[in-house]
Amino acid sequence: MSTESESPVWEVFLQPKSGKPHEHVGSVHAVDAEQALQNARDVYTRRGEGISIWVVQANNITASSPDDAGPLFDPGDDKIYRHPSFYTVPRGVRNV
């Protein structure tokens, strides 16, 4: 098995069909972008799962830390007025 430095991890995003967004499906090891693309094709699209692949080297992704989850996401919890369902639509309004 090759080491992490020789063969870094690439995250794989697959577009299931035209017009849909690319979705994260997993990761592969590869030495360069072309190999990452080929490996992603071989590992994740063998049964017609997609029509387009993106690969991005994992260390190019900036991710939020689990410790930040509180400050980042909790404020959304108690502000129900941020959800459209909070508002009752006045009678007679057709297009909102």
């Binding site: 098995m1 090759s2 592969v28 090891h29 590869a30 030495v31 190999q35 490996n39 590992v43 063998r46």
Partner: protein, 268 residues
Amino acid sequence: MAMEMVAKISESLDVAHHAQLAEFLTALGDDALILGHRLSEWCGHAPQLEEDIALANIALDEIGRANVLLMYAGQLEGLNRDQDDLAFHRDTVSFRNLLLVEQPNIDFGYTLARQFLYDVYALKLFECMGGSPNPFISGVARKAAKEITYHVRHSRSWVLRLGDGTSESHDRIQAAFDELWTYTDEMFETSESIHALIEAGIIPDGFLRLRVDWNVFVTDTLTEATLVVPDQDQFMRKGGRSGQHSEHLGHILDEMQFLARSHPDASW
């Protein structure tokens, strides 16, 4: 596998060409079958999980192609044999595959060098056959050319990576090309049957230019990979197309045919 084809390739051709085309398709089917089995030996052993899956994928493509080609060959020879009979109940002398594809895997570089030499040949061959006026031949050829386009992309990128990689990977794949080169002349051998099929327009005459197209592609890639293209004018090994095989084929067939011969007519 059940034969549920409605139309048969044998009904699409003058009976005069049946035996010739059966011989030709058997050779191409045997190439794919034997190489597919060789490649499948890497399953569980490749240097990386991803590459393991890639090689198994390619092996499955080869065997899928062998399935169709041998099915057509069986229909044309008219001896009531299907693709399974041809794959599992013939002996080495009846196989018509290139010597190249039965050579052992040796190491990863050797396997990929062998694959690259074959892939480029197969791509050019099936692209040419895609122009056949016979819908059975052009149909299988176009589908094959599509999947082999990816196989070339895969094996070519490994030739570049290993050739232009470390000194060890460079030396190993150079040695592989030097040895395997002696098996390449056989790919462009023609026979009376092939000439008759070209004359009848069943095989496009581009077939006779395969060597030139193959040479250009292979030379470009090896040069880009900082490898030396072996000499064209040297002793070349031949015999696969007439059933004179190296000892390696017998070992493959032992393993491949054992189950089917021990349990004839078994289905799974």
